[in-house]
């Protein structure tokens, strides 16, 4: 890039980053401000909204008992399902493989709000009420493709002859996979699992339909608090989510290729 080009681009680049980051910066600033109105820039520094967050039963329940639990279990389930699917797709040739690959992308192509509505109507016609379980099952649908993506990338970059060598030395196919391939897949597995967690943890569109009164996830609780114009406890809870997700994305960027994940 030559000098002049850069100066022409810079205003646009700054404008876009401002738009992307401003809401996060504002939310974090508001969570430390003393005013109960959403004041920016804040006129002081206080931790009272974080204290209010930990004192609020609905906030604590939605954060720790619902979002965190569902996120971790969904990530674990997605990692198992997704790893198996990725190994099947990369290491074997069979009829309909490409079609199946596209089919496994479907959860990312279908608008989430419509998937949420469709699942709600499906459960309703089976007379199943929204609960922690319905939310968890729904999240596994949209988390798994991220694991498939990262594990596929990990497997494609790996030399299959490593496994063949292990087998020619007497290892069974299963042994060869778990002793040779699996350790080499660790960073892509970790990234896939982390992304699965993030997708579940920040989802709102499915949760709006599928979390019941006893299983309100953090984003859904935030949504209703914003509608009822609550206080900066909203901002404190949001700041916690921003910090957790920021740290996890940083971890993925350090251990794997972040570009592949989105």
């Amino acid at each position: 890039m030559r000098g002049r080009t850069r100066w022409v681009l810079l205003p646009f680049v700054i404008l876009v980053y401002l738009g992307l980051l401003a809401p996060l910066v504002v939310v974090i600033a508001v969570s430390f401000g003393p005013s109960p109105a959403f004041e920016f820039p804040p006129s002081g520094l206080t931790l009272r909204w974080f204290a209010a967050f930990f004192d609020s039963k609905p906030f604590v329940a939605s954060f720790f008992r619902v979002s965190l639990v569902v996120g971790l279990v969904a990530a674990a389930a997605a990692t198992v399902l997704g790893t198996a699917a990725a190994v099947g797709l990369v290491r074997f040739r069979f009829f309909g493989r490409e079609g199946l690959e596209t089919f496994f992308l479907m959860p990312l192509l279908v608008p989430q709000i419509l998937l949420g509505a469709a699942l709600y109507l499906f459960y309703a016609s089976l007379e199943i009420h929204p609960s922690l379980m319905t939310l968890l099952l729904a999240h596994v649908i949209i988390c798994t493709p991220y694991v498939i993506r990262s594990v596929t990338a990990g497997l494609v970059g790996m030399d299959p002859r490593l496994e063949e060598a292990a087998m020619s030395l007497g290892a069974t196919p299963l042994q060869a996979f778990f002793k040779v391939t699996f350790p080499l897949l660790q960073s892509s597995l970790l990234s896939g699992a982390i992304f699965a967690f993030i997708i579940s943890f920040s989802d709102i569109n499915l949760a709006l339909f599928l979390s019941g009164p006893e299983s309100t996830s953090l984003p859904v609780h935030l949504f209703s608090q914003i509608q009822w114009e609550g206080d900066p406890t909203i901002a404190a809870a949001s700041s916690l989510q921003i910090v957790i997700i920021g740290a996890l994305i940083l971890l993925v960027q350090r251990t794997f290729r972040l570009r592949l994940m989105v």
Partner: protein, 285 residues
Amino acid sequence: MGEGSARPVWAFLVSPYALYLLILLIVPFANVALFSIQTYSPTKIILPELTLVNYLKLFDPYYARLFGRTLKLGLITTVICAVLGYPLAYFLARARPRVATIGLFLLIMPLMVSTVIRVFGWIVILGRKGLVNKALMAFGLEPLKLLYNETAVVIGLVNIFMPFMVLPLMASIERIPPSLEEAAQNLGANWYRMFARTILPLSVPGLISGCLLVYSISISAFVTPALMGGRRERMVGQQIYDEVLVSFNWPSASSLALTLVLLTLVLLFAALYATRRASRLETGR
């Protein structure tokens, strides 16, 4: 593993998730399709009498306006994303690795934070006592009503979905060798001419998939219009939410949902096709 084994190992590996999707993705949408051709009843929600009323209703002025507004807001969002996102994509594609790493983190991190939080941030910025109005008042100007209208929805949608424009564009610009730019300029083309003749045409596949991605995601937006939009200027996503959870008109909600999902899938498969075609043209296959 593999080729030699008699048992179809692949089937054990791929079938769990395939079955999962069959039961929790395909069947629910089949159920939606079935609901959409049944009759609404205020007391029983659904009567098992087949009808096309739910689809014919989409041509009523109310629903036609609803779809018209949704498609229009999606289009405005997409155009603004393309105009603002293109320079950023070019900047990142040609940046030094260190800058690109930081730039990518700052692009993807906000994308992964819950939409509801980013919308909340915009509400604080645009609110009556928000950042913008405070600045206006500091200059002695009247505060503006920036929230709860279509402009606010577009501002929200543009900022929330921007990364979906930048990432595919960046990928396609990266594949254009920088030597091409230098060659064009060494042959006497100025920067703008070089850009219009080489970079822009070669990045069209990325631009197309970015636009289709942003458009298809913004026409099914719910959280942004629900929290930042006016009561009278709703989008299809809000209508579906209300008909499912508030007014319990499930047949009508189903016809809306099925129409929107088919529209989205057509657009996204077009985007996939554009990307694959581009990479095929490059590798010469």
